[in-house]
Symmetry: C2
Amino acid sequence: MLDSDSLKRAQDQGKADHRQFQDIGYTRITDQIKKVPKGSVVLEDGSIIPGYPSIARIQALDPGLSKQFAGPFWAEEKMDGFNIRIFRHGEQVYALSRGGFICPFATDRMLDLLDEGIFQDHPDLVLCAELVGPDNPYLEGHSPQVQEDVGLFVFDMMEKNREGFLTQSRRMELLDQYALPRAEIFGRFTAGQRPEIADLILRLDEEGKEGLVLKPEDQGQRAKYVTGRSNTYDFSVTGQGLLDLPPEYFTNRLLRMGLFMAEHGQQQDHERLAELGHALMLGLFRGIDISRRQSRVGSLYRCRFNRRDSADAFIRHIEETGGDRVKVYKGMPKRQGDYWLLEFERVHQRMTGFLNQALQGGRQFD
Amino acid sequence: MLDSDSLKRAQDQGKADHRQFQDIGYTRITDQIKKVPKGSVVLEDGSIIPGYPSIARIQALDPGLSKQFAGPFWAEEKMDGFNIRIFRHGEQVYALSRGGFICPFATDRMLDLLDEGIFQDHPDLVLCAELVGPDNPYLEGHSPQVQEDVGLFVFDMMEKNREGFLTQSRRMELLDQYALPRAEIFGRFTAGQRPEIADLILRLDEEGKEGLVLKPEDQGQRAKYVTGRSNTYDFSVTGQGLLDLPPEYFTNRLLRMGLFMAEHGQQQDHERLAELGHALMLGLFRGIDISRRQSRVGSLYRCRFNRRDSADAFIRHIEETGGDRVKVYKGMPKRQGDYWLLEFERVHQRMTGFLNQALQGGRQFD
């Protein structure tokens, strides 16, 4: 879809970024070029792994479902983790981050998480999946299904050089045939089944899960709809970096929480409102405690690799992209059982400065 | 301090803005010029009413008090209302807003709120005061002392054409001599009295008051320190306009709340955390209710005037400065007892658009 001249021009215009990972050279598309979306990757043989598109959000089931879905749609669990695209090139399987980087961590761990046999039969297949769990190097917080290390949940399939996703039925067939780990598929619904969808989202909310992705039968506009408590949960895990996130991170979640509670008649739910207050302060209290004990406020990450050179490549990747914010602990990676363990910290620089100044009694102008 | 040439030049550079109010012409300084701060006003006779300076905030009494105050300081109540400067010119008393507009509302109401005799004896005096109460045209929320209409609380004094404030002792003398309404002065403290200041702020917090302004004996750097609950209160009254305030309005208050609770050992105070959750959702629920009943989400304001022409001038003022956001209700101002009542609404335009779209089931990209 992109000839080498176009690609060269795109690089000169800053819309494409050439990279090397081990033996594979690839070009990240950082800004849409013709019909090739941002996040796509062009391999050396010219084949393209399409970018994973953004999914719009609805904030009211009624009338959101009927407004967005004329026909039937599938409801699937929205996992809280990070989005990867898995593909085979030559003899190896790679995993791309949303931004189109080959992720040394996800690529290394595919070995444990996925039977790669599917790519023998379907070499052009691209699996879109969420990597979920506490031992992930990118995110604070995760879906409750994975309480240690990481797990893989396939939720979409694409093909190289082809727009759009495989159909729902084809995807479900392949998931079953290859027994792939997957995000839960709750079933097929129509907009008239708003009460069933409401029951489903309230159950996910009770279970501490993030929400739903609603997918029309085949191609067509999708929508996500998240639980109220996913907002509370996000506050509880990110509060110590409050000033290092865009402030809209917090205000948008407050809005979502309000709309969710109002739709589901929870305006008087004292316990849920109390949870919200606790969640908002939890991370701040943690940040204040850290700031009192040491000068630096950060969040700790840990993850495990099969191969030492993957860990080293990952360290180079986060140091390159995260700059001063990333502090890799001494002696890392270190051997732990069959794995190489990596522990590092992302420093919340604005929060560090603010809390130090405030707790040392400084004066601040608003 | 500013000759007419400098003033003319400042107007050409957009740093000064000439205005007319009834019989008085005046120039607002909108950007510091030499030593004349923003918010100052130059009258036709060349005399200057100095701007009211910002007061920096401390967020920890320990070690904030000892760090900021080498000598004794006075602790006074920080009122939750709007800041005015009151002065006499010719035979009339006027009130300026923080931005240097003569406020038709505050000017009209001085008659009821202040015995102007002090200006007979001290024609160059400028009283800095807070106008506080539910019937004010600018703010949602107010200190609990005033539960109807508005009240006046003098907290500083300046003189025309002179930098700085009158000394604490001189101000207290004049407050007593003229029996002026005032913000409460709790006494003189030193940094070693941190426990007494902590008790005082916790009492104010219980009483739903905003906080303290700490003023060194004479000139010198001041500091404000607010109660934890002032943040909760602000959330509860402003939430329906969440998207129309800067998002930092919310995140900064969360930070202040966290620092206050941590300093005063309230991290486990479940009731206070529950209050926070309630407060954050209260305004949103109100906004969602309004949005469901009518297309427009706004906040209602009401205030009363002695003179009809003041009300008319005030309407012109808010329509000029507030544009489309201001909707003055039909038939306003209307006679009510001895007053002219004005009711109007400030529309939360972004919140209106967002909630309408969300509640109608629209899709939104983050």
